[in-house]
């Protein structure tokens, strides 16, 4: 069966999020390794590696967390939620998805505000806008909202058992 086009678009968005999470993770490793290299080989410890690595970690976490929202693989306790009638299970699943969407919305709103409020402040060591610290929160919040809404609308990939 042909999946709806918005669902395929979200597949691509998810792939991009996961790729972003993986690329930022690899970059963190390279930046930290560069820091060691700089200290011994260049005899000058770069001050920018750590702040940049921390921005990237925020992105890794939030992009990855949004993918986990789409696949519904976040840590949860299913003991009570998974018992009872199908209607009760569906109701609780809806509740969880609505709460995820709400949290995503607030993360996006406040993440953006935190980012803009600190945009003019240069980051110590890196000279980048300090507000970038909250880029992951803002972006990840938006993606969490989108993926949770997709779930609420009945879309999304099949849930994985046992997670």
């Amino acid at each position: 069966m042909q999946r709806p086009s918005f669902s395929r678009a979200l597949d691509r968005l998810e792939a991009a999020s996961l790729a972003g999470a993986a690329i930022t993770l690899v970059s963190i490793a390279l930046l930290q390794a560069w820091q060691v290299f700089g200290r011994y080989v260049l005899n000058a410890s770069p001050g920018w590696t750590e702040p940049v690595a921390l921005i990237l970690m925020g992105l890794t976490v939030m992009l990855g967390a949004s993918v986990a929202v789409r696949h519904e693989t976040h840590f949860r306790f299913g003991m009570i939620a998974e018992g009872g009638s199908p209607a009760r299970r569906a109701g609780l699943l809806l509740l969880a998805r609505v709460i995820a969407a709400l949290c995503g919305l607030l993360m996006a709103i406040y993440g953006t505000r935190l980012m803009l409020d600190d945009w003019e402040v240069p980051m110590a060591g890196a000279g980048l806008p300090s507000g970038l610290r909250f880029l992951g929160l803002a972006l990840g919040g938006l993606l969490i909202l989108v993926f949770a809404l997709e779930r609420i609308a009945g879309g999304g990939p099949k849930p994985v058992e046992g997670e």
Partner: protein, 425 residues
């Protein structure tokens, strides 16, 4: 009112199946609304925590574990371990304990430890027919040893929270005997469970096989050595060592073993990003939750309660341990140490208890919180690696909790376990 909102909303959301991170966040949002606090503060705390240096090693050690796994490096290490202790009951569990102890001397962090050792050992144990619950339980409790073996950033945190008046070298020395005791107790526990469950033990393959697997495992053992020597010799920090581990694991598995292709590298990176993000997302939400707990002075309210109950030093100590264990069910280790130390240390000092001794008790007790639900980051990493629900691990963790409690009580009632070495060194 606010306190009840925080806990009841969290508990209700959690029990209704809302993911832990969102249950934490929604309870923080509700509490902030009750208190008239700006919501943005909750997200400031969360955003700041998921971008903090203290956590930077976690995704990198998870990544290293994935690379070792997919690049065949950990298979070779397990082959050696199997040759050495595979004939003992629960051999791979024993390897996990010993491995955690050794690696703990490197990482200083239980989460990094369970990421690195668990990332390798849990899938191996499952592969060899051990129960996933057992694999998770032995690995996550073994990771607590890492807190007690120097270097331990948690001990530095404790000293700082105590106003920096406690010698960190004394604390480091004080952790050694309790760490050994915990490792031995866990090995005995592992042996007993493995015997009861009849986990496979292989015949001893002979010293020739030990030597052969040993040579094949050298690059893997070198990784641990590079981290260990690198940190001890001051070549790099623990965080930097995690990045060196990633680079090293990539080079060895890609160029020496030639088992890591581009596709498996990508799989390792996306897999690690997925696991790490689910863990750190909860830790970030728990940061906001812990912030509200501190603001609501929940820890100190508990102390007032405690001081009205008894004036016996031993009872006070036991009550403090009980409170920390309860707080530890919800709170992460670092905030609990930071909040709990300035509150409890003056109390125990008044009863004549040595601050170094109390430090070891604090670290072990707060550490146990890392493996208790509903909020336990080490528990989450372990079950995340094993891809089993938390409750699966919880059903059979009791013997391991008992082992931790025996060691905790021994450390509490026998101050010499903590204080003998610092006075010698």
């Amino acid at each position: 009112m606010a306190v009840w909102t925080l806990f009841l909303v969290f508990a209700a959301a959690l029990l209704l199946g809302v993911p832990v991170a969102f249950a934490l966040l929604v309870s923080c949002i509700a509490t902030a609304l009750v208190l008239g606090l700006p919501l943005i503060a909750m997200f400031l705390k969360m955003g700041s925590d998921v971008g903090s240096v203290a956590l930077l090693a976690i995704p990198l050690f998870i990544f290293t574990g994935e690379l070792m796994l997919r690049g065949g490096l950990s298979d070779r290490m397990i082959a050696l371990a199997t040759a050495l202790v595979g004939h003992v009951k629960g051999g791979l569990g024993q390897v996990a304990v010993v491995g955690s102890t050794l690696f703990g001397g490197v990482s200083g962090s239980a989460i990094a430890d369970v990421s690195a050792v668990g990332g390798t050992m849990i899938p191996q144990m499952v592969k060899k027919g051990y129960g996933a619950d057992f694999a998770v339980n032995v690995t996550i409790t073994a990771a607590l040893v890492a807190l007690l073996v120097p270097p331990s950033h948690n001990m530095i945190l404790y000293s700082a929270a105590a106003g920096g008046r406690i010698s960190i070298t004394d604390l480091f020395a004080a952790g050694l005997i309790p760490a050994g005791l915990l490792a031995i107790t866990l090995m005995i526990t592992t042996w007993l469970i493995a015997r009861k469950r009849g986990y496979p033990s292989l015949p001893f393959p002979g010293w020739r096989a030990v030597a052969r697997t040993g040579v094949a495992a050298i690059p893997g053992l070198m990784l641990v050595m590079i981290i260990f020597v690198g940190i001890r010799a001051g070549i790099f920090t623990a965080v930097e060592s995690a990045s060196i581990a990633v680079v090293y694991a990539t080079l060895i598995t890609g160029l020496v073993y030639r088992q890591l292709g581009w596709a498996s590298f990508v799989k390792a990176a996306t897999g690690a990003a997925g696991t790490a993000s689910r863990v750190l997302f909860v830790i970030g939400a728990a940061g906001a939750f812990g912030w509200l707990m501190a603001l609501l002075e929940i820890p100190s309210a508990m102390v007032d309660l405690l001081q009205g109950v008894t004036d016996q030093p031993v009872l006070v100590l036991l009550l403090i341990i009980l409170i920390l264990l309860l707080l530890g069910t919800f709170m992460d280790m670092a905030p609990l140490l930071i909040i709990g130390t300035p509150i409890f240390l003056p109390v125990v000092k008044a009863y004549g208890i040595d601050p170094v001794h109390f430090g070891v008790i604090m670290i072990l007790t707060c550490g146990i919180g890392l493996i208790t639900p509903p909020v336990g980051s080490v528990l989450f990493v372990g079950t995340g690696i094993a891809r089993v629900p938390v409750e699966t691990a919880m059903k059979t963790i009791w013997p391991f909790y008992a082992a931790c409690m025996i060691v905790l009580l021994a450390v509490t009632f026998i101050p010499q376990l903590s204080l003998a070495l610092p006075s010698l060194l």
